[in-house]
Protein backbone atom coordinates (compact mmCIF):
# COMPACT_ATOMS: atom_id res chain seq x y z
CA UNK A 1 0.00 0.00 0.00
CA UNK A 2 1.32 3.43 -0.89
CA UNK A 3 -0.49 6.44 0.45
CA UNK A 4 0.79 9.93 -0.21
CA UNK A 5 1.70 11.60 3.06
CA UNK A 6 -0.77 14.42 2.49
CA UNK A 7 -3.59 12.29 1.04
CA UNK A 8 -6.92 13.00 2.66
CA UNK A 9 -8.56 9.99 4.27
CA UNK A 10 -12.17 9.21 5.14
CA UNK A 11 -11.50 10.06 8.81
CA UNK A 12 -10.92 13.70 7.72
CA UNK A 13 -14.60 14.07 6.80
CA UNK A 14 -16.46 11.26 8.55
CA UNK A 15 -16.85 9.18 11.69
CA UNK A 16 -17.77 5.52 11.95
CA UNK A 17 -18.71 2.63 14.24
CA UNK A 18 -18.38 -1.12 13.75
CA UNK A 19 -20.61 -3.89 15.06
CA UNK A 20 -20.83 -7.67 14.68
CA UNK A 21 -23.53 -10.28 14.30
CA UNK A 22 -22.17 -13.77 13.79
CA UNK A 23 -19.64 -13.66 10.97
CA UNK A 24 -21.09 -10.45 9.52
CA UNK A 25 -19.60 -7.06 10.33
CA UNK A 26 -21.35 -3.76 9.77
CA UNK A 27 -19.70 -0.37 9.71
CA UNK A 28 -21.78 2.79 9.69
CA UNK A 29 -20.08 5.91 8.35
CA UNK A 30 -21.33 9.48 8.83
CA UNK A 31 -20.26 12.75 7.22
CA UNK A 32 -19.36 15.40 9.83
CA UNK A 33 -20.61 18.04 7.36
CA UNK A 34 -23.71 17.21 5.25
CA UNK A 35 -21.95 18.85 2.30
CA UNK A 36 -19.45 15.96 2.28
CA UNK A 37 -22.09 13.22 2.05
CA UNK A 38 -21.94 13.08 -1.76
CA UNK A 39 -18.16 12.80 -1.73
CA UNK A 40 -18.43 10.02 0.86
CA UNK A 41 -21.03 8.21 -1.23
CA UNK A 42 -18.95 8.58 -4.39
CA UNK A 43 -15.77 7.39 -2.70
CA UNK A 44 -17.06 4.55 -0.57
CA UNK A 45 -18.74 2.22 -3.01
CA UNK A 46 -19.28 -1.40 -1.99
CA UNK A 47 -16.90 -2.43 -4.79
CA UNK A 48 -14.16 -0.17 -3.44
CA UNK A 49 -14.44 -1.62 0.06
CA UNK A 50 -14.46 -5.20 -1.17
CA UNK A 51 -11.47 -4.44 -3.40
CA UNK A 52 -9.52 -2.83 -0.55
CA UNK A 53 -9.70 -5.87 1.76
CA UNK A 54 -10.18 -8.99 -0.37
CA UNK A 55 -8.56 -11.38 2.14
CA UNK A 56 -10.65 -10.12 5.05
CA UNK A 57 -14.05 -9.66 3.39
CA UNK A 58 -14.78 -13.07 1.89
CA UNK A 59 -18.46 -12.42 1.12
CA UNK A 60 -20.41 -9.65 -0.56
CA UNK A 61 -20.53 -6.03 0.62
CA UNK A 62 -23.90 -4.27 0.80
CA UNK A 63 -24.41 -0.53 1.25
CA UNK A 64 -27.49 1.15 2.73
CA UNK A 65 -27.95 4.91 2.50
CA UNK A 66 -29.47 7.36 4.97
CA UNK A 67 -29.04 10.64 3.06
CA UNK A 68 -31.13 12.73 5.48
CA UNK A 69 -28.60 11.91 8.22
CA UNK A 70 -25.52 11.91 5.99
CA UNK A 71 -24.84 8.24 6.65
CA UNK A 72 -23.89 5.04 4.87
CA UNK A 73 -24.12 1.57 6.37
CA UNK A 74 -21.85 -1.16 5.06
CA UNK A 75 -22.67 -4.79 5.68
CA UNK A 76 -19.58 -6.95 5.23
CA UNK A 77 -20.50 -10.61 4.89
CA UNK A 78 -18.10 -13.35 5.97
CA UNK A 79 -15.72 -10.69 7.19
CA UNK A 80 -15.00 -11.57 10.83
CA UNK A 81 -12.70 -14.54 10.45
CA UNK A 82 -15.54 -16.77 11.63
CA UNK A 83 -17.11 -14.44 14.21
CA UNK A 84 -16.46 -13.48 17.81
CA UNK A 85 -16.35 -17.01 19.19
CA UNK A 86 -14.33 -18.50 16.31
CA UNK A 87 -11.81 -15.83 15.28
CA UNK A 88 -8.30 -16.00 16.71
CA UNK A 89 -7.82 -12.29 15.98
CA UNK A 90 -7.11 -10.33 19.18
CA UNK A 91 -10.08 -8.19 18.10
CA UNK A 92 -12.46 -11.07 17.52
CA UNK A 93 -15.49 -8.73 17.37
CA UNK A 94 -13.94 -6.64 14.58
CA UNK A 95 -14.51 -3.52 16.70
CA UNK A 96 -11.59 -1.90 14.87
CA UNK A 97 -13.03 -2.46 11.38
CA UNK A 98 -14.45 1.08 11.50
CA UNK A 99 -10.88 2.34 11.30
CA UNK A 100 -10.16 0.15 8.28
CA UNK A 101 -12.72 2.20 6.40
CA UNK A 102 -11.76 5.52 8.04
CA UNK A 103 -8.21 4.89 6.87
CA UNK A 104 -9.12 4.64 3.19
CA UNK A 105 -8.05 7.56 1.02
CA UNK A 106 -10.70 9.88 -0.38
CA UNK A 107 -8.95 9.61 -3.73
CA UNK A 108 -10.17 6.19 -4.73
CA UNK A 109 -7.28 5.52 -7.06
CA UNK A 110 -5.32 4.63 -3.90
CA UNK A 111 -6.34 2.11 -1.26
Amino acid sequence: MTVRANARIVRDIAHARAGDKGNTSNVNVWAFDPKDYDLLKRTLTPERIKRAFPDLIKGPVERYELPHLGGLNFVLHDALEGGVNSSLNLDSHGKSWSFLILGLTLDDTGR
Binding site: M1, R11, H15, A16, R17, G19, D20, K21, G22, N23, T24, N26, N28, W30, F32, F53, D55, L56, E62, Y64, L66, H68, L69, G71, N73, V75, E81, G82, G83, V84, N85, S86, L88, N89, L90, D91, K95, S96, L100, G103
Partner: protein
Protein backbone atom coordinates in the same frame (compact mmCIF):
# COMPACT_ATOMS: atom_id res chain seq x y z
CA UNK B 1 -51.66 1.59 32.76
CA UNK B 2 -52.29 3.48 29.52
CA UNK B 3 -50.61 6.58 30.87
CA UNK B 4 -49.95 9.73 28.89
CA UNK B 5 -47.16 10.88 31.20
CA UNK B 6 -43.59 10.53 29.93
CA UNK B 7 -41.69 7.39 30.86
CA UNK B 8 -38.10 7.75 32.05
CA UNK B 9 -35.98 4.68 31.40
CA UNK B 10 -32.24 4.31 31.91
CA UNK B 11 -29.50 1.81 31.23
CA UNK B 12 -27.37 0.37 34.04
CA UNK B 13 -25.20 -1.96 31.93
CA UNK B 14 -24.68 -2.34 28.22
CA UNK B 15 -22.72 -5.58 28.41
CA UNK B 16 -21.79 -8.29 30.88
CA UNK B 17 -18.83 -6.47 32.44
CA UNK B 18 -20.07 -2.88 32.26
CA UNK B 19 -19.40 -0.41 35.09
CA UNK B 20 -21.52 -0.34 38.22
CA UNK B 21 -20.94 3.02 39.94
CA UNK B 22 -22.57 5.17 37.20
CA UNK B 23 -25.65 2.92 37.40
CA UNK B 24 -26.02 3.70 41.12
CA UNK B 25 -25.66 7.42 40.38
CA UNK B 26 -28.27 7.18 37.62
CA UNK B 27 -30.91 5.59 39.84
CA UNK B 28 -30.17 7.91 42.76
CA UNK B 29 -30.46 11.10 40.73
CA UNK B 30 -32.30 10.10 37.54
CA UNK B 31 -35.91 9.84 38.78
CA UNK B 32 -36.31 6.74 36.63
CA UNK B 33 -39.37 4.58 36.14
CA UNK B 34 -37.19 1.66 35.03
CA UNK B 35 -33.56 0.74 34.51
CA UNK B 36 -32.28 -2.03 32.22
CA UNK B 37 -29.11 -4.06 32.73
CA UNK B 38 -28.30 -5.62 29.35
CA UNK B 39 -25.62 -8.19 30.06
CA UNK B 40 -25.77 -10.91 27.43
CA UNK B 41 -24.16 -11.40 24.04
CA UNK B 42 -23.34 -14.25 21.69
CA UNK B 43 -20.11 -14.73 23.59
CA UNK B 44 -21.38 -14.44 27.15
CA UNK B 45 -24.43 -16.71 26.83
CA UNK B 46 -22.19 -19.49 25.56
CA UNK B 47 -19.76 -19.14 28.44
CA UNK B 48 -22.61 -19.04 30.93
CA UNK B 49 -23.61 -22.50 29.79
CA UNK B 50 -20.10 -23.73 30.50
CA UNK B 51 -20.34 -22.27 34.00
CA UNK B 52 -23.68 -23.96 34.58
CA UNK B 53 -22.33 -27.34 33.44
CA UNK B 54 -19.50 -26.99 35.95
CA UNK B 55 -21.86 -25.91 38.75
CA UNK B 56 -25.68 -26.19 38.43
CA UNK B 57 -26.08 -23.27 40.85
CA UNK B 58 -24.16 -20.93 38.54
CA UNK B 59 -24.43 -19.92 34.90
CA UNK B 60 -25.69 -16.41 35.57
CA UNK B 61 -23.79 -13.13 35.24
CA UNK B 62 -20.59 -13.11 37.30
CA UNK B 63 -21.29 -9.58 38.56
CA UNK B 64 -24.93 -10.23 39.56
CA UNK B 65 -24.13 -10.44 43.26
CA UNK B 66 -22.39 -7.04 43.44
CA UNK B 67 -24.84 -5.39 41.08
CA UNK B 68 -27.90 -6.54 43.04
CA UNK B 69 -26.37 -5.63 46.41
CA UNK B 70 -25.77 -2.12 45.14
CA UNK B 71 -28.90 -1.63 43.06
CA UNK B 72 -31.75 -3.26 45.01
CA UNK B 73 -31.76 -0.71 47.87
CA UNK B 74 -31.45 2.35 45.62
CA UNK B 75 -34.05 1.04 43.16
CA UNK B 76 -36.53 0.41 45.96
CA UNK B 77 -35.93 3.88 47.41
CA UNK B 78 -36.38 5.53 44.01
CA UNK B 79 -39.31 3.32 42.95
CA UNK B 80 -37.39 2.16 39.88
CA UNK B 81 -38.09 -1.23 38.28
CA UNK B 82 -34.96 -3.21 37.37
CA UNK B 83 -35.07 -5.39 34.23
CA UNK B 84 -32.15 -7.60 33.26
CA UNK B 85 -30.99 -10.63 31.30
CA UNK B 86 -28.27 -11.31 33.89
CA UNK B 87 -29.89 -14.73 34.38
CA UNK B 88 -27.94 -15.83 31.29
CA UNK B 89 -27.95 -19.66 31.26
CA UNK B 90 -29.61 -19.96 34.67
CA UNK B 91 -32.32 -17.35 35.36
CA UNK B 92 -33.81 -19.42 38.20
CA UNK B 93 -30.55 -19.49 40.15
CA UNK B 94 -30.09 -15.76 39.46
CA UNK B 95 -33.60 -14.94 40.72
CA UNK B 96 -33.19 -17.12 43.82
CA UNK B 97 -29.85 -15.46 44.59
CA UNK B 98 -31.45 -12.03 44.12
CA UNK B 99 -34.27 -12.89 46.52
CA UNK B 100 -31.71 -14.06 49.08
CA UNK B 101 -29.77 -10.80 48.72
CA UNK B 102 -32.98 -8.78 49.11
CA UNK B 103 -33.77 -10.64 52.34
CA UNK B 104 -30.26 -10.05 53.67
CA UNK B 105 -30.66 -6.35 52.91
CA UNK B 106 -34.03 -6.24 54.69
CA UNK B 107 -36.02 -5.49 51.53
CA UNK B 108 -39.06 -7.49 52.64
CA UNK B 109 -41.78 -7.89 50.05
CA UNK B 110 -39.54 -7.19 47.07
CA UNK B 111 -41.02 -9.04 44.08
CA UNK B 112 -38.57 -10.75 41.75
CA UNK B 113 -39.87 -12.18 38.48
CA UNK B 114 -38.03 -15.10 36.93
CA UNK B 115 -38.58 -15.55 33.19
CA UNK B 116 -37.70 -18.94 31.76
CA UNK B 117 -38.39 -20.78 28.55
CA UNK B 118 -35.59 -19.37 26.40
CA UNK B 119 -33.70 -22.67 26.68
CA UNK B 120 -35.00 -24.49 23.61
CA UNK B 121 -32.55 -27.39 23.55
CA UNK B 122 -35.40 -29.86 24.07
CA UNK B 123 -37.41 -28.71 21.05
CA UNK B 124 -34.82 -27.92 18.36
CA UNK B 125 -34.41 -30.88 16.00
CA UNK B 126 -30.97 -31.94 14.70
CA UNK B 127 -31.98 -31.31 11.07
CA UNK B 128 -32.51 -27.59 11.72
CA UNK B 129 -30.48 -25.53 9.21
CA UNK B 130 -28.29 -22.65 10.32
CA UNK B 131 -29.58 -19.12 9.79
CA UNK B 132 -26.72 -17.44 7.96
CA UNK B 133 -24.35 -20.17 6.86
CA UNK B 134 -24.56 -23.52 5.11
CA UNK B 135 -25.18 -26.71 7.04
CA UNK B 136 -27.44 -27.88 9.81
CA UNK B 137 -27.19 -28.61 13.51
CA UNK B 138 -26.36 -32.28 13.06
CA UNK B 139 -23.40 -31.44 10.79
CA UNK B 140 -21.37 -29.96 13.64
CA UNK B 141 -19.11 -32.50 15.26
CA UNK B 142 -18.92 -30.67 18.58
CA UNK B 143 -21.07 -31.16 21.70
CA UNK B 144 -23.86 -28.60 22.17
CA UNK B 145 -23.52 -26.65 25.43
CA UNK B 146 -26.70 -24.56 25.15
CA UNK B 147 -29.46 -23.24 22.90
CA UNK B 148 -31.30 -20.07 23.71
CA UNK B 149 -34.13 -18.40 21.82
CA UNK B 150 -34.35 -14.61 21.89
CA UNK B 151 -37.45 -13.78 23.95
CA UNK B 152 -39.43 -10.62 23.29
CA UNK B 153 -41.65 -8.11 25.06
CA UNK B 154 -44.48 -10.64 25.18
CA UNK B 155 -42.39 -12.66 27.67
CA UNK B 156 -41.59 -9.62 29.82
CA UNK B 157 -44.94 -7.77 29.98
CA UNK B 158 -46.63 -10.48 32.14
CA UNK B 159 -43.84 -10.12 34.71
CA UNK B 160 -44.38 -6.37 34.86
CA UNK B 161 -48.17 -6.78 35.00
CA UNK B 162 -47.68 -9.04 38.01
CA UNK B 163 -46.05 -6.11 39.79
CA UNK B 164 -42.44 -7.25 39.69
CA UNK B 165 -39.85 -4.88 41.14
CA UNK B 166 -37.05 -6.88 39.51
CA UNK B 167 -37.37 -8.86 36.28
CA UNK B 168 -34.67 -11.46 35.59
CA UNK B 169 -34.45 -13.56 32.46
CA UNK B 170 -31.93 -15.33 30.32
CA UNK B 171 -31.84 -14.59 26.60
CA UNK B 172 -34.25 -11.63 26.78
CA UNK B 173 -33.75 -9.67 23.58
CA UNK B 174 -31.90 -6.42 24.27
CA UNK B 175 -34.43 -3.87 22.90
CA UNK B 176 -37.38 -5.90 24.22
CA UNK B 177 -36.32 -5.11 27.79
CA UNK B 178 -37.05 -1.46 26.96
CA UNK B 179 -40.03 -1.96 24.64
CA UNK B 180 -41.92 -4.06 27.22
CA UNK B 181 -42.21 -1.45 30.01
CA UNK B 182 -42.92 1.27 27.43
CA UNK B 183 -45.76 -0.77 25.88
CA UNK B 184 -47.27 -1.46 29.29
CA UNK B 185 -46.95 2.14 30.49
CA UNK B 186 -48.46 3.70 27.38
CA UNK B 187 -50.99 0.95 26.72
CA UNK B 188 -49.51 0.06 23.34
CA UNK B 189 -50.71 -3.25 21.96
CA UNK B 190 -47.81 -5.56 21.19
CA UNK B 191 -49.41 -5.88 17.73
CA UNK B 192 -49.12 -2.12 17.15
CA UNK B 193 -46.02 -2.47 14.99
CA UNK B 194 -45.35 1.25 14.36
CA UNK B 195 -45.43 2.00 18.12
CA UNK B 196 -43.43 -1.10 19.03
CA UNK B 197 -40.97 -0.06 16.30
CA UNK B 198 -40.60 3.30 18.05
CA UNK B 199 -40.11 1.61 21.41
CA UNK B 200 -37.57 -0.69 19.79
CA UNK B 201 -35.59 2.31 18.55
CA UNK B 202 -35.44 3.60 22.12
CA UNK B 203 -34.26 0.18 23.27
CA UNK B 204 -31.76 -0.10 20.47
CA UNK B 205 -30.21 3.29 21.25
CA UNK B 206 -30.10 2.53 24.98
CA UNK B 207 -29.14 -1.14 25.11
CA UNK B 208 -25.38 -0.58 24.84
CA UNK B 209 -25.36 1.91 27.66
CA UNK B 210 -22.59 4.46 27.27
CA UNK B 211 -22.23 3.80 23.56
CA UNK B 212 -24.80 6.58 23.19
CA UNK B 213 -23.31 8.91 25.82
CA UNK B 214 -19.74 9.06 24.52
CA UNK B 215 -18.38 5.55 25.04
CA UNK B 216 -16.95 3.66 22.02
CA UNK B 217 -16.79 7.10 20.35
CA UNK B 218 -13.82 9.22 21.44
CA UNK B 219 -11.07 9.81 18.86
CA UNK B 220 -8.98 12.60 20.42
CA UNK B 221 -8.61 15.62 18.18
CA UNK B 222 -11.35 14.36 15.87
CA UNK B 223 -14.18 13.40 18.21
CA UNK B 224 -13.49 14.58 21.74
CA UNK B 225 -15.58 13.44 24.68
CA UNK B 226 -15.50 15.38 27.98
CA UNK B 227 -14.62 13.51 31.17
CA UNK B 228 -14.84 10.04 29.61
CA UNK B 229 -13.41 8.44 32.76
CA UNK B 230 -16.61 9.46 34.57
CA UNK B 231 -18.97 8.72 31.67
CA UNK B 232 -22.64 8.52 32.63
CA UNK B 233 -25.22 5.99 31.48
CA UNK B 234 -28.07 7.24 29.26
CA UNK B 235 -31.64 8.21 30.10
CA UNK B 236 -34.50 8.11 27.57
CA UNK B 237 -37.44 10.43 28.22
CA UNK B 238 -40.11 8.70 26.17
CA UNK B 239 -43.47 10.20 25.17
CA UNK B 240 -46.71 8.35 24.37
CA UNK B 241 -46.13 8.43 20.60
CA UNK B 242 -42.79 6.64 21.05
CA UNK B 243 -40.56 9.60 20.28
CA UNK B 244 -37.89 10.29 22.88
CA UNK B 245 -35.13 12.53 24.13
CA UNK B 246 -31.87 10.75 24.87
CA UNK B 247 -29.93 12.46 27.64
CA UNK B 248 -27.75 11.84 30.70
CA UNK B 249 -27.35 13.17 34.23
CA UNK B 250 -25.90 16.63 34.72
CA UNK B 251 -22.47 16.27 36.26
CA UNK B 252 -21.79 12.83 34.80
CA UNK B 253 -19.07 12.64 32.15
CA UNK B 254 -19.56 11.94 28.48
CA UNK B 255 -21.84 13.65 26.00
CA UNK B 256 -25.05 13.05 24.05
CA UNK B 257 -24.87 14.58 20.60
CA UNK B 258 -26.44 13.85 17.21
CA UNK B 259 -23.14 12.13 16.31
CA UNK B 260 -23.15 9.74 19.29
CA UNK B 261 -26.80 8.92 18.56
CA UNK B 262 -26.20 8.41 14.82
CA UNK B 263 -23.40 5.93 15.41
CA UNK B 264 -25.57 3.92 17.75
CA UNK B 265 -28.62 4.10 15.42
CA UNK B 266 -27.04 1.61 13.03
CA UNK B 267 -24.84 -0.29 15.49
CA UNK B 268 -25.22 -3.99 14.61
CA UNK B 269 -27.99 -3.08 12.16
CA UNK B 270 -27.90 -4.35 8.58
CA UNK B 271 -30.86 -3.07 6.52
CA UNK B 272 -32.17 0.02 8.36
CA UNK B 273 -35.65 -0.65 6.98
CA UNK B 274 -35.74 -4.16 8.39
CA UNK B 275 -34.24 -4.57 11.85
CA UNK B 276 -35.60 -7.86 13.18
CA UNK B 277 -36.39 -8.35 16.84
CA UNK B 278 -38.79 -10.82 18.46
CA UNK B 279 -41.30 -7.94 18.70
CA UNK B 280 -41.27 -6.24 15.32
CA UNK B 281 -39.61 -5.72 11.98
CA UNK B 282 -38.37 -2.26 12.92
CA UNK B 283 -37.86 0.50 10.37
CA UNK B 284 -35.14 3.00 11.32
CA UNK B 285 -34.71 4.38 7.80
CA UNK B 286 -36.63 7.63 8.38
CA UNK B 287 -35.54 8.29 11.95
CA UNK B 288 -34.84 11.94 12.70
CA UNK B 289 -32.10 13.01 15.13
CA UNK B 290 -32.06 16.60 16.43
CA UNK B 291 -30.09 18.39 19.13
CA UNK B 292 -32.34 19.93 21.81
CA UNK B 293 -29.78 21.71 23.95
CA UNK B 294 -26.71 20.42 25.77
CA UNK B 295 -26.65 16.63 26.03
CA UNK B 296 -30.24 16.32 24.84
CA UNK B 297 -31.03 14.72 21.50
CA UNK B 298 -34.56 14.10 20.19
CA UNK B 299 -35.27 10.98 18.14
CA UNK B 300 -38.52 10.32 16.27
CA UNK B 301 -40.12 8.67 13.23
CA UNK B 302 -39.09 5.09 13.86
CA UNK B 303 -41.71 2.67 12.71
CA UNK B 304 -42.20 -1.00 12.03
CA UNK B 305 -44.16 -3.80 10.48
CA UNK B 306 -45.24 -7.24 11.64
CA UNK B 307 -42.96 -9.22 13.94
CA UNK B 308 -41.13 -12.23 12.47
CA UNK B 309 -42.82 -15.65 12.70
CA UNK B 310 -39.59 -17.28 13.78
CA UNK B 311 -37.23 -16.49 16.65
CA UNK B 312 -33.46 -16.46 16.48
CA UNK B 313 -31.64 -19.09 18.56
CA UNK B 314 -27.98 -18.96 19.59
CA UNK B 315 -26.42 -22.41 19.81
CA UNK B 316 -23.16 -22.83 21.69
CA UNK B 317 -20.77 -25.70 20.97
CA UNK B 318 -17.87 -26.95 23.07
CA UNK B 319 -14.87 -26.21 20.83
CA UNK B 320 -12.18 -27.24 23.27
CA UNK B 321 -9.53 -24.74 24.23
CA UNK B 322 -7.88 -21.52 23.13
CA UNK B 323 -4.30 -20.89 24.14
CA UNK B 324 -2.82 -17.40 23.86
CA UNK B 325 0.77 -16.45 24.57
CA UNK B 326 3.16 -13.62 23.86
CA UNK B 327 6.72 -12.29 24.12
CA UNK B 328 7.83 -8.69 23.52
CA UNK B 329 10.80 -7.09 21.73
CA UNK B 330 11.82 -3.43 21.93
CA UNK B 331 14.48 -1.05 20.66
CA UNK B 332 16.44 -1.06 17.38
CA UNK B 333 15.57 -4.05 15.23
CA UNK B 334 12.56 -4.95 17.38
CA UNK B 335 10.42 -5.65 14.34
CA UNK B 336 12.89 -8.00 12.65
CA UNK B 337 13.55 -9.82 15.91
CA UNK B 338 9.80 -10.21 16.41
CA UNK B 339 9.39 -11.47 12.86
CA UNK B 340 12.14 -14.05 13.43
CA UNK B 341 10.38 -15.21 16.59
CA UNK B 342 7.13 -15.54 14.61
CA UNK B 343 8.85 -17.65 11.94
CA UNK B 344 10.33 -19.94 14.59
CA UNK B 345 6.94 -20.50 16.23
CA UNK B 346 5.25 -21.23 12.89
CA UNK B 347 7.94 -23.73 11.91
CA UNK B 348 7.94 -25.58 15.22
CA UNK B 349 4.15 -25.57 15.71
CA UNK B 350 3.62 -26.98 12.22
CA UNK B 351 5.59 -30.04 13.33
CA UNK B 352 3.79 -30.29 16.67
CA UNK B 353 0.16 -29.84 15.63
CA UNK B 354 0.08 -30.16 11.84
CA UNK B 355 -3.47 -29.46 10.72
CA UNK B 356 -5.03 -30.68 13.96
CA UNK B 357 -5.47 -27.19 15.41
CA UNK B 358 -5.95 -23.60 14.25
CA UNK B 359 -2.89 -21.42 14.74
CA UNK B 360 -2.54 -17.66 14.38
CA UNK B 361 0.69 -15.69 14.78
CA UNK B 362 0.60 -11.89 15.00
CA UNK B 363 3.14 -9.17 15.71
CA UNK B 364 1.45 -6.46 17.76
CA UNK B 365 2.74 -3.05 16.67
CA UNK B 366 3.34 -4.26 13.12
CA UNK B 367 0.47 -6.46 12.05
CA UNK B 368 -2.20 -7.91 14.31
CA UNK B 369 -5.78 -6.58 14.30
CA UNK B 370 -5.50 -5.68 10.61
CA UNK B 371 -3.28 -8.61 9.63
CA UNK B 372 -5.95 -10.40 7.60
CA UNK B 373 -6.92 -7.10 6.00
CA UNK B 374 -3.34 -6.92 4.73
CA UNK B 375 -2.24 -3.75 6.55
CA UNK B 376 1.23 -3.50 8.10
CA UNK B 377 3.06 -0.72 9.93
CA UNK B 378 6.81 -0.40 9.86
CA UNK B 379 9.42 1.17 12.09
CA UNK B 380 7.88 0.05 15.39
CA UNK B 381 10.49 -0.28 18.14
CA UNK B 382 8.20 -1.94 20.68
CA UNK B 383 6.45 -5.02 19.35
CA UNK B 384 4.84 -8.10 20.82
CA UNK B 385 4.62 -11.56 19.36
CA UNK B 386 1.10 -12.85 19.96
CA UNK B 387 0.27 -16.48 19.24
CA UNK B 388 -3.18 -18.06 19.48
CA UNK B 389 -4.22 -21.67 18.99
CA UNK B 390 -7.63 -23.35 19.15
CA UNK B 391 -7.93 -27.12 19.53
CA UNK B 392 -10.24 -29.77 20.93
CA UNK B 393 -7.05 -31.12 22.52
CA UNK B 394 -5.76 -29.14 25.48
CA UNK B 395 -2.27 -30.52 24.87
CA UNK B 396 -2.02 -28.49 21.67
CA UNK B 397 -2.59 -25.30 23.64
CA UNK B 398 -0.11 -26.38 26.30
CA UNK B 399 2.49 -27.18 23.65
CA UNK B 400 2.10 -23.74 22.10
CA UNK B 401 2.52 -21.96 25.44
CA UNK B 402 5.68 -23.94 26.06
CA UNK B 403 7.06 -23.08 22.60
CA UNK B 404 6.46 -19.36 23.08
CA UNK B 405 7.93 -19.33 26.58
CA UNK B 406 11.00 -21.23 25.34
CA UNK B 407 11.80 -18.24 23.08
CA UNK B 408 13.13 -16.46 26.17
CA UNK B 409 16.32 -18.53 26.04
CA UNK B 410 16.34 -19.97 22.52
CA UNK B 411 14.72 -17.19 20.50
CA UNK B 412 15.92 -13.82 19.19
CA UNK B 413 17.87 -11.34 21.34
CA UNK B 414 16.21 -9.31 24.05
CA UNK B 415 12.87 -11.13 24.19
CA UNK B 416 10.97 -10.60 27.45
CA UNK B 417 7.61 -10.38 29.10
CA UNK B 418 6.26 -13.86 28.43
CA UNK B 419 2.61 -14.39 29.40
CA UNK B 420 0.39 -17.28 28.45
CA UNK B 421 -3.10 -18.52 29.28
CA UNK B 422 -5.49 -21.28 28.24
CA UNK B 423 -9.25 -20.73 28.27
CA UNK B 424 -12.27 -22.80 27.30
CA UNK B 425 -13.58 -22.18 23.81
CA UNK B 426 -17.27 -22.12 22.94
CA UNK B 427 -18.20 -21.41 19.34
CA UNK B 428 -21.70 -20.23 18.46
CA UNK B 429 -24.01 -20.50 15.49
CA UNK B 430 -27.51 -19.16 14.88
CA UNK B 431 -30.69 -20.84 13.72
CA UNK B 432 -34.41 -20.02 13.63
CA UNK B 433 -37.29 -21.66 15.47
CA UNK B 434 -41.05 -21.32 15.04
CA UNK B 435 -42.36 -18.92 17.63
CA UNK B 436 -45.10 -21.36 18.66
CA UNK B 437 -42.47 -23.81 19.92
CA UNK B 438 -41.10 -21.29 22.42
CA UNK B 439 -43.15 -21.00 25.60
CA UNK B 440 -41.86 -18.41 28.06
CA UNK B 441 -42.95 -18.65 31.69
CA UNK B 442 -42.96 -16.19 34.58
CA UNK B 443 -42.68 -16.99 38.26
CA UNK B 444 -42.85 -14.34 40.94
CA UNK B 445 -40.63 -14.86 43.99
CA UNK B 446 -41.11 -12.60 47.00
CA UNK B 447 -38.36 -11.59 49.40
Amino acid sequence: MNSTSDFRIGTGAGFSSDRLDPAIDLVERGNLDAIVFECLGERTVAFAHRDRMANPKRGYNAHLERRMRAMLPVCRKAGTILITNMGAANPRAAAERTVAIARELGLAGLKVACIEGDDVSAVVTPDTPFMDEPGRLSDVGMPVVGMNAYLGADAIVPALEAGADVVIGGRLSDPSMFAAPLALHFGWSLDDAPRIGAGTLVGHLMECGMQVTGGYFADPGVKDVPDLARCGYPIAEVTADGSAVITKLDGAGGCVTPATVREQLLYEVHDPERYLTPDVTADFSRVTIEARGKDRVAVAHASGTRRPDRLKVTVGFDAGFVGEAGVSYAGPGAQTRGELAADIVRERMAKLIGNDAELRVDLVGVSSLFATAGLRSSGAQDVRLHVAVRSRDREHAEAMLWEVESLLCCGPAGGGGYRGAITASVVTKSLLIDRAKVKPTVEIMTA
